[in-house]
Amino acid sequence: MTVLAVDRLVKHFPIHGGLLQRQVGAVKAVDGISFDIAKGETLGLVGESGCGKSTVGKTILKLIEPTSGRIVLGGKDITALKPGAMWPHRKGIQTIFQDPYSSMNPRLPAGTIVGEPLENFGIARGRERDERVAALFERVGLRRDAMRKYAHEFSGGQRQRLGIAKALSVAPEVIVADEPVSALDVSVQAQVLNLLIDLQAEYGLAYLFISHDLAVMRHISHRIAVMYLGRIVELTDKRTLFARPLHPYTEALLSAATAPDPRRRRRRKAIVEGDVPSPADPPSGCHFHTRCPYAVAECKVKDPSLREVAPGHHVACHLR
């Protein structure tokens, strides 16, 4: 059952310049991407800085307005909803950030922070709210008495647990998790990843999991979409992606990732050269052609569309 469907989503940020501050261009942060996520599924969105993965997350959450395209949450088209009309739908889609601390009021006790959505949505108040919050604390591995503590008294991993408890409080269908473990040490990262996997099994949550870390992706995702300069270049189940990557950029990412295996360095294949071009002025044709070792003349002029080359395996490349 599809709980979130995204169709040809576009988000361009205008660039203003000149004396009159007219629009002189646009950063094409998200440039026509489509995917859907089923109940209980994790779709990983992987890519390097500036590829637009976080903008996808923010747009789906309607924290920023899409330029065009469609976002369908639980069967309801939320693309054009104004903040007031969007409000009841926010229960269905929640988020976890990389740095939960920055979104927590330092003057409020943790129990109040986690219980805020329950009050805001009129789900529970007073004693009932406190009981629910206490249960959430226990579910994410925090002690009940930690409800009285303040955000600064928690470690990084515990704060992420608070963020998860808050997101869970309104029983969402979809959670957008943007780099939720990137700031954590590996031993703590493992705790948080395990918790996310357990919660998914328990509540049938769908995750849009945004990360730059391929190993984390492989661990948590069912399917993975690889983004490059605002577009999805490859989308398939994780086994296929790691065993038989088709897009040259996916190949480059996998080959560049470090692994805790000293023998791997001798097996490493060619490394892509150069930097990611600016999304304000992306290369013509296939965005990756400037760094692609296989690029041919066609790649410079013709934009490859995302095609299904095998069941469930989509790739945007002229050569594959």
Binding site: E48, S49, S155, G157, D185, V186, S187, Q189, A190, Q191, L193, N194, I197, H212, D213, L214, A215, V216, R218, H219, I220, K238, R239, F242, A252, L253, L254, S255, A256, A257, T258, A259, P260, D261, P262, R263, R264, R265, R268, I271, V272, E273, D275, V276
Partner: protein, 322 residues
Amino acid sequence: MSGILEVRDLHTQFDTLDGVVRAVDGLSFDLDRGETLGIVGESGCGKSVTALSILRLIPPETGRIASGSIRFEGEELTRLSEEAMKRLRGHRISMIFQEPMTSLNPVLTVGTQIAENVTRHLGVSKRAARERAHEMLDLVRIADARRRLDEYPHQLSGGMRQRVMIAMALSCDPQVLIADEPTTALDVTIQAQILDLMLDLKEKTGTAIVLITHDLGVVAETAQRVVVMYAGRRVEEAPVEALFDNPLHPYTRGLMAAIPRLDTDATRLQEIPGMVPLLTRPIVGCAFAARCPLATDRCRAEAPPVVDAGGGHTVACWEVTP
């Protein structure tokens, strides 16, 4: 092989409102000429403070090297004057950090900054220094180096800035390069470029590298020998293959089981329960005992011995029998 840098029983401490933090708590290691030594550990294990101690960059208002010895080519750095340290830094011992933007001067061109380091330490003419800067940018594979010399740091990408830092660090042919999380802020494809560059330059110049990182993948792919740190102490040291084939310390084993893998679909990651101990109180016994699955009363009471597992593999643990 001979040791170029010898660190012995180093204690570095900081004064905080909560008391004295023992950031480095009796650390010893050697760096051989021309080798790459990885120092790995999680936040707060003291790996960066170790780097700052070697460079004598611990801010004197809050911290100090309380005891121990750091010998560089036989010279005791802990007793060297600040003037002598200034002559050493950027010349015979160089460093690069995680965020190049905080180390580069935003109002000087990169050419000027590299040339400045060369003039200061080697006393050559401005023209010769600029030539050297050009040569260095070529060496770190910055395309169109002549033009880049006249650019400012903000005009460069993150990967390019780190290349400039490496160019500057190597401009006076140092014997030791200390790299503290040099690729942590970079994207994976750029990280791969920078790691390759560092290894390639090490081959060319023979500079020994101390690579400080939290990332076991980076260590596995670059270091020849690895020191694993926990709570300011060395818990294990081994040649890189031995460490990854046969990790001995329960902490090292825990770390390896906690990382998600690229090559397999593990069903569940192993967690290390609990948290790093507070460093404001002296730690009795083994620092890892509170989180260790093997810990006994002896571990909690007495500091563990350093057990030699052979082949340069040592581990500080009561319960491990190699």
